[in-house]
């Protein structure tokens, strides 16, 4: 056994906890999780059954922590995990799992399958069996501070551009501001208009806010690859920045996994409560709306529908706010089938979109989103995750569906009257 494989097995043994033991013993092999996974429903291949994706974890658990499994291992009826097997499993644990959590919520015995996939990724990552694309993102996070290699000068360039475009100053390192706004690399690189939208919304709401020069990046590659140490490092950078600037609230951007990592796992990762609140931008907009701070004019009149990012709606429970916001600026908002809590993933979350060799499968899985869209035939598709946005655009382009995709925060900002108008 190679040193990395030994490390991988050691990590897998370490992450094996009471919930996992309980889940593995509770599974009734009903197969409902298969029907909840778009990689299975769109390919019909049983290897994409979610519970099957964690087979290496189940086998190790059995061999190490059950009497029968130990005996079977002893007499050679159950073979030890090999590096080659974990290598083979890469496609199942990363390429065909977006950590969307749909399998977990349909499990009749309450098994959190996505929790187990996350734990298996820890071993996969430690044994060197994570996909090259995600490894690269993780390495850049350590060395540069951003999974996509975005450095502070690039952020400053974007700030300058947005200040010119919107005519609103973008604050950086403003101590005592109420909100610290985080960005995902995707927004810095592909969607600078998101920052402009924030500036416009905050100006109208009369709120103080700031970016942080030492913690502008929200994306958590540690969570995607399955490396808790890295996930902790990324969260710590944000916590240090927020505490240095003494902000009351950190706003997670339109990025699903950034939100889950910081909001739901962050405090546990660093081992203490935060001194500030964490909210997704859609939650903040929802609060502004309720307190009358979000004044818009005019309505979109074309047919709009909303794609719920999995981490926001299913994993984070933020479901009504985006609908209230849509209805504030739209006269013709329609819901796709299975919208909201049980929405189908775009197919590219959890690091899957960074895996080049997974592209063909991703596009196959996109047929689920295609059928959802065909059911309502929208003129435009709105969402609140920069990664979903690109995966959706690629899928729509591939299937030649002429449906523009827009970000909700930007759409709201477009309805805010110009200052002085």
């Amino acid at each position: 056994m190679s040193a990395t494989m030994e490390k991988g097995v050691r990590v897998l043994k370490e992450v094996m906890d009471a919930p996992i033991a309980s889940y593995l013993n509770s599974c009734v092999h009903c197969g409902l999780c298969a029907e909840a996974c778009l990689f299975y429903t769109e390919t019909g291949d049983p290897k994409y059954t979610p519970i099957h994706k964690i087979e290496p974890l189940r086998r190790l658990y059995s061999q190490e922590y059950t009497l029968l499994g130990r005996l079977m291992k002893m007499v050679g009826l159950s073979k030890p995990l090999t590096d080659a097997e974990l290598g083979e499993w890469q496609e199942l644990v990363y390429n065909s799992c977006t950590l969307c959590g749909r399998c977990s919520v349909v499990c009749p015995v309450g098994n959190d399958i996505v929790y187990m996939v996350r734990k298996l990724r820890e071993g996969m990552s430690a044994s060197g069996n994570a996909p090259v694309g995600i490894k690269g993102a993780a390495n850049r996070t350590v060395t540069i501070g951003s999974p996509m290699g975005v450095k502070l000068p690039a952020v400053k360039a974007q700030m300058k551009h947005v200040e010119e475009d919107y005519g609103i100053p973008i604050p950086m390192d403003q101590e005592g501001a109420e909100y610290m706004v985080m960005l995902s690399s995707m927004e810095i690189i592909n969607f600078p208009e998101y920052l402009g939208a924030i500036a416009k919304i905050m100006q109208q709401a009369g709120k103080t806010w700031t970016l942080c020069s030492t913690a502008f990046e929200a994306t958590n590659a540690g969570m995607q690859i399955g490396n808790s140490d890295l996930a902790r490092l990324i969260v710590s950078r944000i916590v240090d920045g927020a505490e240095r600037l003494k902000v009351k609230t950190v706003i997670s951007p339109e990025c699903g996994h950034a939100y889950t990592a910081l909001r739901w796992e962050g405090a546990n990762l660093i081992g203490r409560p935060f001194t500030f609140q964490v909210k997704h931008i859609i939650e903040v907009l929802g609060e502004f709306q309720k307190s009358g701070l979000l004044k818009t004019e005019g309505f979109e009149t074309d047919r709009l529908t909303f794609h719920d990012p999995c981490q926001l709606a299913r994993r984070g429970g933020v479901i009504q706010q985006q609908r209230d916001l849509m209805n504030q600026v739209s006269k013709n908002f329609v819901e796709m089938p299975d919208a909201g809590f049980i929405n189908w993933c775009c197919g590219g979350g959890g690091g899957a979109s960074a895996i080049e060799e997974g592209e063909e499968l991703r596009l196959e899985a996109f047929k689920k989103k295609k059928s959802q869209l065909e059911a309502v035939k929208p003129d435009r598709l709105v969402t609140a995750c920069a990664n979903c946005r690109i995966v959706l655009e690629e899928g729509l382009e591939h299937y030649q569906m002429d449906i523009p995709v827009v970000g909700l925060t930007e759409m709201i900002a477009e309805h805010i009257p110009e200052k002085g108008a």
């Binding site: 360039a157 551009h161 010119e164 592909n190 960074a354 990664n387």
Partner: protein
């Protein structure tokens, strides 16, 4: 009087009919086209620069430019190549040039902003900081366009 800042620039663009907006938008985007060199983007800019364009032509070049835009996105987790990223913003500028103007927006302004972002990406890529004179060049182009 020569245009000297964005306020004047925006006001001058607001006074243009859509067909004229397309023509001047095309000139803004042409200035950064060397950062893309995509034939679909080139075709869109050529069509947008003409005084007479049919709706059918616009539909065709708009769809092709949009494909170029989608193909230029840097996906989540991929290492950013700022030179290639400049190409995304050139494609976005081209899409603005041949797109339908949204209520309250000005497609020439949108194209100008995307062209500036493309230039900014180039300066980030070359490590030259973020200073460039794209805005001033756009003022000059608009001045010349208005005075022709």
């Amino acid at each position: 009087m020569a245009i000297g800042n964005d306020k004047e620039f925006k006001a001058a663009l607001a006074g243009l009919a859509v067909a004229k907006q397309r023509q001047v938008a095309s000139r803004f985007a042409q200035r950064v086209f060397d950062l893309s060199n995509d034939v679909r983007v080139k075709a869109a800019l050529e069509v947008a620069g003409r005084p007479e364009i049919s709706d059918a032509e616009l539909t065709v070049v708009s769809a092709a430019a949009n494909t170029a835009r989608v193909e230029s996105f840097t996906q989540c987790g991929k290492e950013t190549d700022w030179t290639a990223q400049a190409g995304l913003f050139v494609a976005k500028a081209a899409v603005a040039c041949v797109g339908s103007p949204a209520p309250g927006s000005n497609l020439a302004w949108d194209a100008a902003m995307q062209a500036r972002m493309a230039r900014t990406c180039q300066t980030v890529a070359t490590g030259e900081g973020t200073e460039n004179r794209e805005a001033e060049e756009q003022y000059r182009i608009l001045d010349a366009f208005l005075n022709q």
